[in-house]
């Protein structure tokens, strides 16, 4: 489905996209952003589901099961901690103090 040159284009464009997204991020957000990108590669869960879905032998099923287990942990855990951190970021209630960043 995705082969050869088309794949290389996707790799390249995705690489540039990632670089652009991060290039202007303030230090204040480094930890949540790392956690957020950690969550995004939790998409590995989808691949793990396919790997377990196509498993035929017991060995393949065991490894596939581990893959889904770990992938789900990555996705859910990454989401929960990122959301918890970002939920706490709030601006001042009084915006008229001239304290703005």
């Amino acid at each position: 489905m995705i082969e050869g040159l088309a794949a290389i284009y996707i790799f390249m464009l995705a690489g540039f996209t990632g670089y652009e997204i991060i290039s202007k991020v303030p230090v204040i957000l480094h930890t949540p952003l790392m956690s957020g990108s950690n969550f995004v590669h939790g998409i590995v869960l989808v691949g793990a589901m396919v790997a377990l879905g196509i498993a035929e032998t017991t060995a393949e099923q065991v490894i596939g099961f581990i893959a889904v287990l770990l992938g789900a942990g990555n996705a859910v855990g990454g989401y929960v901690v990122t959301e918890r951190m970002l939920e706490m970021f709030r601006p001042s209630e009084k915006k008229t103090e001239g304290e703005g960043s």
Binding site: M1, I21, I22, I28, V50, E60, I63, R90, P91, E99
Partner: protein
């Protein structure tokens, strides 16, 4: 159906990119994670309809196994993620990241086992894994397997070290040479998988890669851990992208590679903020023990101040800059400090927080801890933005921080800290340092700031001292 699934993956990939983009500004960050989360749910649900899964011979068993695995893995992660204290966040991120790397490696294992099985039972009898998968899929699959496995075992070591479960920084003599040899052997076995159809080769390869991840991470010093975690995060992304190619899954390729490149950049930014290079972290990690021995005795005397007087001084200040360090978080004093800030603000004092890039255990970690206490992010300033402002500051309040305000990083070329950017607290009219005792900081280096003419020491536990300051300020 296939089109629908592809459309769902496309939307998910777009939501991930937009979500990450929004996460790079504090104003929209919250929305960003919600969008990315929606993308993840969409992609996961669509995958249940995937023809690869539905047309399998064992469809009912496998789907049941998938649901059980998601419930177990997701349930554990949900529970642990909700429960973890904000101070322990870095190791938790390392743990979840390791899981992702392990999942990518396991996907590769299933594909490689399948291919080697098919190759062994091929009519010719001499087919290889590469023949079965095609050269491109085989190469990227094996690469993803190495990277994912290293990220898996390395992240677990990083978690154990940050969680205080593992303290040693050396396993073997000449660790770096052993690591280099081990890396070469591992790559050799990776090549062997490609050219053979032996299952034993695959097993040995995975074991070697697991050990390699452990050996690489163990020598890294505690202070450098954030850089390693960030690097493993980028590597996991890369592994996920490669396995996405193996499975022909566009969402995995895009999300994985975006994280791989964003994570690489983030790793460099963090290393720069900490005045370290990425190579330095890996190959000179051991050096941190040796550097800590210097400490040429104290010059001058520390001048003590009572909380009462410090409270008065701060109440009549025009500007107070608070410099929190990890010590504040350990003493759980951030809530008290925020209370103090509110009292001072009511008295018309301008209060700002100054955050050094390495405050906390990871860049940005201190911001999270302050945010937890309720400090709004627009009161918090990065080092570059606040340093010029110390000249206009009546009181700089240093709590639980030490090395990040050590002026010898600027003036003394023999200091181990030399060259590290610092917060110029010493430029303010008065410096008040809340500190438990007279000892040195994390690096073991003596801090001349504590002996400076404009510095007064407020000895005591962070939380208790903050309480006394609140009382003193309230009474006025």
């Amino acid at each position: 159906m296939e089109t629908l699934i592809q459309a769902a993956y496309l939307i998910a990939a777009a939501l991930f990119i937009l979500g990450l983009k929004q996460m790079s500004s504090p104003v929209t960050a919250r929305r960003g994670i919600l969008w990315a989360g929606a993308g993840m749910v969409l992609a996961t649900l669509a995958t249940f309809l995937s023809p690869q899964i539905i047309e399998s011979d064992q469809v009912s068993i496998n789907i049941m196994l998938i649901i059980i695995a998601i419930a177990l893995g997701g349930g554990y992660a949900w529970y642990s993620g909700k429960k973890v204290a904000m101070t322990d966040m870095p190791q938790m991120i390392a743990m979840y990241n390791g899981m992702g790397g392990g999942a990518a490696a396991a996907i590769a294992a299933v594909e490689l086992l399948k291919a080697s099985n098919e190759a062994a039972h091929d009519v010719t009898g001499s087919s290889t894994v590469a023949d079965m998968l095609g050269a491109d899929v085989a190469i990227l699959g094996i690469l993803g397997a190495i990277i994912g496995t290293i990220s898996f075992s390395g992240s677990i070591i990083a978690w154990a070290k940050l969680d205080g479960r593992l303290n040693r920084s050396k396993l073997l003599p000449a660790q770096h040479i052993v690591n280099a040899l081990l890396a070469i052997v591992t790559v050799g076995f990776a090549g062997a998988i490609y050219f053979t159809n032996s299952i034993d080769t695959i097993i040995v390869f995975y074991l070697l890669a697991l050990v390699l991840g452990i050996f690489i991470t163990v020598p890294v010093g505690g202070a450098d851990m954030p850089v390693i975690i960030s690097l493993f995060n980028a590597l996991t992304g890369l592994a996920v992208g490669f396995e996405g190619y193996v499975l022909g899954n566009a969402a995995m390729i895009i999300a994985g590679i975006v994280v791989g490149s964003a994570g690489s950049l983030l790793t460099q930014l963090m290393a720069k903020a900490m005045n370290r290079s990425v190579a330095n972290v890996f190959f000179a990690g051991v050096g941190t023990d040796a550097a800590a021995t210097s400490g040429d005795g104290s010059e001058g005397v520390m001048k003590e101040i009572q909380a009462q007087d410090a409270g008065i001084l701060m109440s009549f200040a025009s500007q107070v800059v608070i410099i929190p360090g990890y010590g504040m978080a350990v003493a759980q004093a951030q809530h008290k400090i925020w209370e103090l800030t509110q009292i001072l603000t009511e008295k018309g004092v301008s209060v700002k927080f100054a955050i050094h890039p390495v405050a906390g255990r990871m860049p940005g970690h201190m911001n999270v801890l302050l945010a937890e206490a309720g400090v709004p992010y627009d009161m918090i300033y990065d080092m570059e933005d606040i340093n010029a402002d110390f000249k206009n500051t009546t009181v700089a309040l240093v709590i639980g921080a030490n090395d990040v305000v050590n002026p010898s990083a600027k003036s003394d070329s023999s200091s181990p800290l030399f060259g590290m950017p610092i917060l110029d607290a010493i430029d303010s009219d008065n410096v008040i340092v809340i500190k438990r005792g007279r000892g040195t900081g994390f690096s073991g280096v003596e801090n001349p700031l504590f002996f400076a003419d404009n510095t007064k020491m407020l000895f005591g536990d962070g939380q208790k001292a903050a309480n006394e300051l609140i009382q003193a300020a309230k009474e006025l």
